[in-house]
Subunit: 629 residues, 2 copies
């Protein structure tokens, strides 16, 4: 029938679907990429879809589906796209959940942004002045300010930039000029003629590991260019603590760390400028977010006290510094601003996460988890917000993992192990020959090893089934061969070592201890969590089911997990675009309560229990079924 | 009689004065230096004093006195100290007018300063904070601002300097710190413990020719050190106009001129610091005055429009820039401030003159004349003030004068010519052998040459008396030998050339045209001028009678002339010490009306008439008697 359709929500449509074909195939035909790793064997469960209507036109659910998904979800319409086939003519409406969309994770990493009404801090206004004559020899500034203030503005002041540009602009523009004001109060620049169409800013997320900068057209809100680089402070210390230690042990250590990040940012700005053709001189503001240590080091504020109890930050309040004074290569009398911090280890990046997620205005209870070298967690709703920080370390970025690597070409990012045959299937970035394992790959691997019984709940690699992939490594400690050398780029076997598993256990235990502590503070249980915002590149790439399986995320239905990508970057962009967002952020940073995890009396025992896979207290992970369970 | 006294007001007293001795001798004995150049011959008239009581104990006035001083003044008590002798026992009270005090001029050059109540812009306050604990992990800035704001202060903000110094100060000072605030609003620095005793600032007068800087202890108001240097911009142009021309003809000319003056100021600050032992880091503010061009060039504001009609300044308003941003080597988050300008050629230095003189609050009509390469004149009283600027050039500083030199060792600073014998007497700086003539010397010389009939009113050197000092120079033009080679340091005759006289005529005509234009604007005559404030080093050194004789100052009794020395420097110091003075200056700069001399329809003819000695219209100088009159 020519008028029958399969609608994939959102995105695609397949007209005249052929009988006998699977939803997975039809989706691919219509340009909708659905995850699948088991070769359509109905075994990996990644290709979950929800049938919104026309279920009768599909094959009935088979055993693979009920086994993997459970009877109840299947009754409610959940199917495996690789198993459900077209059996009769008629429309079918298929919802592809976020979780099942291939590539969606990667796209999201740029950060999802809530619509923001443009209200940038820098504004431009055209004004016409009476020319100076021998009969009216008032000073340029008096002449200018009189007209500017008439325009219903408050008592605007002029910055050195305005003093320098005013006299030339007045004469070059025949007494018609464009004034640029910061927050409606400070004139920072005057240009001849009408330049209101040119208004640019840069939003920057300074992560401990990665720095991302976005060039924004502040007249349209559009991102004109994006550039990123590894944080150039990495050579001085991989994590926040070791960088702070560097500042305490090295004379002018703070200055040196400031210099490298400033140089780094300047190189990003230079690239943004050449990519977009926007002169650096026309970039008027930089909005910076980062964790508190990155924030302090960037702004030249001593960071050393962050490293010792009670870990109080030097500065909470939102900052506005002069770009020239800071040494940031934009218009020298432009501004470098920041969002506010909350605590020593909950910084402006967490506030950016909060702002961009919308958690602060939800009525139901939600949680924001931004996984990085340091993981910030904020939980609550419009009434109350609590926060904490976990030193999760860089394992999820591939550090300290034997075959760990960044999520670049050839990185194993998805792993599926057939529990029966112990066959391993992998998916790599750009489908290249595997070179190593990235963060989402190692979490998948551990989750699959646990489900298949290769790991016991303590994280130990077992060999009770004589699996030849389980072997002793060169150091005599067990390891698991994920890919045999014949199939890898280097010819070397890619393995998951016992030590790798311990690293991930430490990291996920740190995160879950934060999660559980905040839930206890709020007096809520997992079932009460209506929404978990998973932020950060890793938090977005990682398979949510696997993250729950290893006990990193709380045990909630994966549909409640919302991937918000680089939410810190999104928040920075929103703040750059709108002073309302900044004002909101300032309010929120005062409202968010900070919980010092290490000061909680049961912190040690909570952490120890969270080292288990998924947890020592299995009652907290009722949905997780492990091979050794 | 042992209990008889001669009191010299102010300053000295001579007990048991011997009969037959002159007041001049008694004054010297009691440490009061009175001017005299004719060797007590009763001829030069410099040693004028006023007898306030005990006139009967003195010799009666002789002919020299009535001849030189006039009958009426002598009747009113004016005497020549070299002629009046003690004739009987009894007290005598003698007033030594400013004009007659030797060395007073030089002392005054530092600038007389009206008492200023200390209210510096930078203030320090000690505050005690509750320490940060695990139970109170508020950010340092929140903790600090809460206590600071409780102290009845308005919403204080923190500058980058405060952010950088706060965390260390809190811990080093055991939570007791000293906050430095700018104008009570912006925290610029936080020091551990109590540092309220250390508060320093620098006041700077940037003259076209000379830069003077004063280091002030802002807790006591005392000047701790003074340093000066020639303006390092001189190689780029001797006067304001040629420097502005340099900026228009040289790419980055404005930047280059800014750099040299900044470097110059920094070297003065460095010297002030080493002389006084006050670390540069503890200097918190620099208050700058200068003419509008010097002001603009210093602050990096384009100066080129000052050179073309209508000569509007780019900036009138008082400035406050960050020291670090400016590149001024004090505490980097300290401030560099300025007083406001009035017009393109009436700058912050004129406002400083006005503030320090007190003219703005007088009820009678007065005039302030600050002679420099550019001469600023302000006239009026508390009700109305008018101002103008004259391009008087650097002749008074010795430039373009054949034997011209600065007022340094060996400079002829006083000249007296006996009208009868044509004998010449000179006085030099430090009484050294003469090397050249400084500004006050050349004015004296011309005045004396005029009085003795060596010059005619057009300024031509005449030889009708066969004076052998009048001769043809090597260029065939007449010159007058002031000192024969046998008496000079170099062995060369020191002469006043015809060209030198023309230079001085041009300069004094420029000044007097301004003086007369402002008097006309106010509708007043010379007799209405109750007070003339003579400012600037030259204006203070110069003999007031000679200045009147050549027609530079208006013809008023010399007792109405008040020497205020480097009034611009004094005003800068006052402004540094008190924000009240700054607020007053800001008001005054708006109140002072500016008169563009070149735009006055009779400017050319007024100028031409003022070229004569003293003036084409002798009715304007009734007191001046010339040899050719």
């Amino acid at each position: 029938m020519t008028d029958a359709n399969v609608h994939f929500q959102p995105l695609g449509r397949k007209t005249s679907p052929e009988k006998g074909r699977t939803l997975l195939e039809l989706a691919r035909d219509s340009g909708v990429a659905i995850e699948s790793i088991c070769g359509s064997a109905g075994k990996c469960g990644k290709c979950k879809v929800i049938i919104r209507s026309g279920a009768a036109n599909l094959s009935p659910p088979n055993r693979s589906e009920t086994g993997l998904l459970g009877d109840k979800p299947v009754l409610a319409g959940t199917r495996l796209a690789c198993q459900a086939t077209i059996v009769s003519e008629g429309d079918v409406v298929v919802e592809v959940p976020e979780e099942s969309r291939r590539g969606h994770h990667r796209l999201l990493a740029a950060g999802e942004e809530r619509a923001t009404k443009l209200k940038p801090a820098m504004t431009k206004t055209v004004i016409e002045l009476p020319p100076a004559t021998l009969a009216d020899v008032r000073a340029d500034d008096d002449r200018f300010l009189e007209v500017l203030r008439k325009g219903a503005r408050t008592s605007s002041m002029m910055s050195p930039g305005a003093h320098r540009t005013l006299p030339g602009a007045l004469r070059d523009g025949s007494w018609s000029v464009t004034a640029t004001l910061f927050r409606g109060k400070e004139v920072v620049r005057v240009d001849p003629g009408d330049t209101t169409g040119e208004l640019y800013g840069v939003a920057v997320d300074i992560g401990t590991t990665k720095v991302v900068a976005y060039l924004i057209d502040l007249t349209s809100g559009k991102v004109l260019a994006t550039e990123s680089m590894p944080n150039p402070q990495i050579p001085f210390g991989e994590d926040v603590m070791s960088r702070i230690t560097f500042t305490t042990k090295t004379p002018d250590g703070n200055e040196r760390l400031q210099k490298v990040i400033l140089d780094g940012l300047n190189s990003l700005i230079s690239k943004l400028s050449s990519t977009s053709g926007v002169p650096q001189e026309n970039i008027l503001e930089v909005m910076v977010v980062g964790n508190t240590a990155m924030h302090h080091l960037f702004f030249g504020i001593p960071a050393k006290h962050l490293a010792s109890a009670p870990y109080a930050p030097a500065v909470r309040t939102s900052l506005v510094y002069d770009a020239g004074q800071m040494g940031v290569d934009i218009y020298p009398f432009g501004k470098v601003s920041s969002l506010p911090n909350v605590a020593g280890f909950v910084g402006a990046d967490a506030i950016a996460d909060l702002v961009s997620s919308g958690l602060y205005r939800d009525t139901h209870i939600g949680m924001m988890i931004d996984i990085g070298t340091n993981t910030e967690i904020i939980a609550g709703n419009k009434d109350r917000l609590v926060s904490c920080s976990s030193a999760s370390g860089p394992a999820f970025e591939g550090a300290h993992i034997k075959f760990g690597m960044r999520a670049s070409t050839g990185a194993i990012e998805r792993v599926w192990i057939d529990p029966a045959s112990r066959d391993v299937r992998i998916q790599t970035v750009e489908d290249a020959r595997p070179r190593g394992i990235c963060g989402s790959g190692i979490v998948d691997a551990i989750a699959e090893m646990l489900r298949s019984g290769i790991l016991d709940p303590s994280g130990r690699i077992t060999d009770d089934k004589g699996d030849r992939r389980v072997r002793k490594g060169s150091n005599g400690v067990r390891e698991y061969v994920l890919v045999w050398g014949k199939d890898t780029e280097t010819g070397e076997d890619i393995t998951v070592a016992q030590h790798d598993i311990e690293e991930i256990q430490l990291a996920k235990a740190a995160i879950f201890t934060g999660v559980s502590t905040l839930m206890r503070k709020l007096g809520v249980k997992c079932k009460d969590l209506e929404r978990v915002y998973a932020a950060g590149a890793f938090g977005t790439y990682v398979d949510a089911s696997s993250a729950i399986t290893i006990g990193m995320y709380p045990d909630i239905p994966v549909t409640r997990i919302r991937f918000v990508g680089n939410a810190a970057g999104s928040g920075a962009r929103m703040a750059l675009k709108s002073t309302h967002v900044r004002d909101l952020a300032e309010k929120l940073s005062k409202k968010v309560e900070y919980v010092e995890l290490a000061a909680q009396k049961d912190f040690q025992s909570e952490f120890a229990k969270a080292m288990f896979l998924p947890h020592r207290d299995l009652g907290r992970f009722p949905s997780v079924k492990t091979g050794k369970g």
